[in-house]
């Protein structure tokens, strides 16, 4: 008897594809409509930022690091400044810390609203996409009013912040939040009650608490599976001790829970911003920073909109960092996508992918891959040989 070779049909998606705005290549093996295997190829947006930081001074790096990701640029710059301040042995004044936290939360609002739109677009629910992006313009206007730019706010400087918040701006923020809060109630209703939409999300891509821990999920994805993991609560930084947030969790672990957790986090952000504006500490905006940073190593953990963001910064006492290592939340969450899509319909795959709020520009970086017993990594000479071979033509 001849051996039956199972028919394997691979659907390649990307790197240029209509759904996501960033490049990533996916291969789904399908049996009919059901996904049997998934593989992901990333790295189209690898620019070499970590190496780039070593050629720039501490101050110049602020602007490069902000451009690791356009959606969560402020949190990257905040993590970096916190690390450098730690190395220099000083901290920003309380007012600066509070303003940074305010920007962090405004950024979270813009990021989550953006994500609701993109994820709804994946589900074919373009009305919600357009509505949420229309409302997102409110928070973009606020960010522009405060900082002068819609996307890269450049709010941080080493030792403090650039902008103060005037009374007029304060009122504008409060007005904007009132409008957004009312809209967010509507979104919560839509994502949990709209019959057509819930059929695309309820019970899809279920990740149990154990799986979430095993795959190392972070941020809203982990919290939607019941894992209590939020750096803002676990290890408060900035002014999160003075203006605490409550952790939002859900137990269902499916796409609906991820929607619900993110939407409910928006309410938490509105509350915290109001609290900050209510009791904004008075005082200076900046602490004096030395041009050269004393030698040492610093580790910073902050909560980006997508989950835990980790920075390692090493100084050798010069005016440039010796090493900056970034670990972004998206790459932690990507492991779960390949596993969760298996067994689902192909049409659900983009939804599950969008469910982790992937940010390719954040996660395309060189990593060491550790499989159970062996570590797969490239040595310098390996890399050099590979590069010579590839780019010799």
């Amino acid at each position: 008897m001849t051996e039956q070779v199972p028919n394997k049909f691979i659907v390649p998606i990307g790197p240029q594809h209509p759904a996501l705005k960033e490049p990533g290549h996916f291969e789904f093996s399908v049996d009919g409509e059901i996904v049997t295997d998934a593989s992901i190829r990333l790295g189209y947006v690898h620019r070499g930022v970590e190496r780039g930081t070593e050629d720039r001074t501490w101050v110049q790096n602020l602007y490069l690091i902000e451009r690791i990701c356009g959606i969560c640029s402020h949190i990257h710059a905040t993590a970096y400044t916190l690390g450098v301040e730690k190395l220099a042995g000083l901290s920003a004044p309380p007012r600066a810390q509070a303003i940074r936290e305010l920007f962090c939360e405004l950024e979270r609002i813009h990021s989550h609203l953006l994500w609701i739109g993109v994820a709804a677009h994946e589900a074919g629910f373009d009305a919600l996409f357009m509505y949420s992006w229309r409302d997102r313009e409110t928070v973009m206007d606020l960010l522009e009013e405060l900082s002068g730019n819609r996307v890269h706010y450049s709010c941080n400087v080493l030792g403090g912040v650039k902008f103060d918040i005037s009374d007029a701006q304060r009122d504008a923020i409060l007005r904007g939040l009132d409008f957004l809060e009312q809209r967010t109630h509507h979104y919560l209703q839509v994502v949990t009650q709209d019959a057509a939409f819930v059929r695309r999300t309820r019970g899809v891509g279920v990740m149990t608490k154990e799986q979430a821990v095993e795959y190392g999920a972070v941020g809203p994805v982990a919290r939607a599976s019941g894992v209590e993991r939020d750096v803002r609560v676990d290890a408060p930084y900035l002014a999160y001790e003075q203006f605490p947030v409550q952790m939002i969790t859900d137990t269902a672990g499916d796409l609906e829970a991820r929607f619900a957790v993110r939407v409910r986090e928006l309410f938490e952000s509105y509350r915290v911003i109001r609290a900050i504006l209510d009791k904004l500490p008075a005082g200076e905006l900046m602490a004096k920073m030395p041009r050269k940073i004393p030698p040492g190593e610093a580790i910073v953990r902050v909560e980006a909109p997508r989950g835990e963001l980790f920075y390692f910064i090493k100084s050798n006492g010069g005016d440039k960092p010796e090493r900056v290592k970034v670990r972004t939340p998206s790459i932690c969450n990507f492991g779960s996508v390949a596993r969760l899509t298996i067994g689902h319909q192909l049409a659900d795959a983009p939804m599950i992918l969008a469910g982790i709020d992937p940010c390719f520009s954040c996660n395309d970086r060189a990593v060491r891959i550790k499989r159970q017993d062996h570590i797969q990594s490239w040595t310098w000479s390996d890399l050099r040989r590979y590069a010579l071979k590839k780019y010799s033509a």
């Binding site: 790197p15 209509p18 705005k21 490049p23 620019r47 070499g48 780039g52 451009r67 356009g70 520009s361």
Partner: protein, 182 residues
């Protein structure tokens, strides 16, 4: 009096093509290593507040259906070949819009080891939109400028055609009869 049908038909067809091209350009967006900033602004340009669709631009998934390639980011070595391929897949005539400082000069990433630096080095660019990231208004302005230059190009095409047929030998009976045979 002999009618120069080639010129009449050709001119009319050119006018029609330019009219169609200017009124409904389909765009494709490729991120060749951008930080996302420009990409979210391009998406914001398509959403209700700015609504690029009112000038007829539709974001299209497949390069084979697109007229305009909107390109963001300093081209990374990984995406260089892919960008070329997408450009080659697009049917003629095709136009490229480079959005953002990175696409123009490499921007903040200048000197990083994995980037080519600018879109220009890989494919020809028609319109540059500076900014980090450019505001949605700037993106609309860039696209509208491109469309206006297309109109102008259509006129140039007509003039060229008119000039060519005015050349000696261009108006003989062979060329005249072709449209009638069709």
């Amino acid at each position: 009096m002999q009618l120069n049908l080639d010129q009449v038909w050709g001119g009319a067809l050119d006018k029609l093509k330019t009219w169609a091209r200017v009124n409904s350009p389909w765009a494709i967006h490729y991120n060749s290593g951008s930080c996302n900033g420009c990409d979210i602004e391009i998406l914001a340009t398509l959403t209700p507040r700015y609504d690029l669709e009112r000038v007829g631009v539709k974001l299209q998934g497949s390069p084979r259906h697109a007229d305009i390639l909107i390109c963001t980011g300093p081209v990374t070595l990984q995406s260089r070949e892919r960008l070329k391929r997408i450009y080659e897949q697009m049917p003629e005539p095709k136009f490229v819009v480079a959005v953002g400082s990175c696409a123009i000069s490499g921007g903040a990433f200048q000197g990083c080891y994995n980037i080519v630096g600018h879109v220009d080095a890989v494919i020809p660019v028609d319109v540059y939109i500076p900014g980090c990231p450019p505001r949605p208004e700037a993106i609309i302005d860039g696209v509208v400028k491109l469309l206006e230059s297309l109109k102008e190009r259509g006129r140039v095409g007509e003039r060229e055609r008119a000039g060519r047929s005015a050349e000696p030998g261009a108006g003989d009976s062979e060329t005249e009869e072709k449209p009638q045979q069709r």
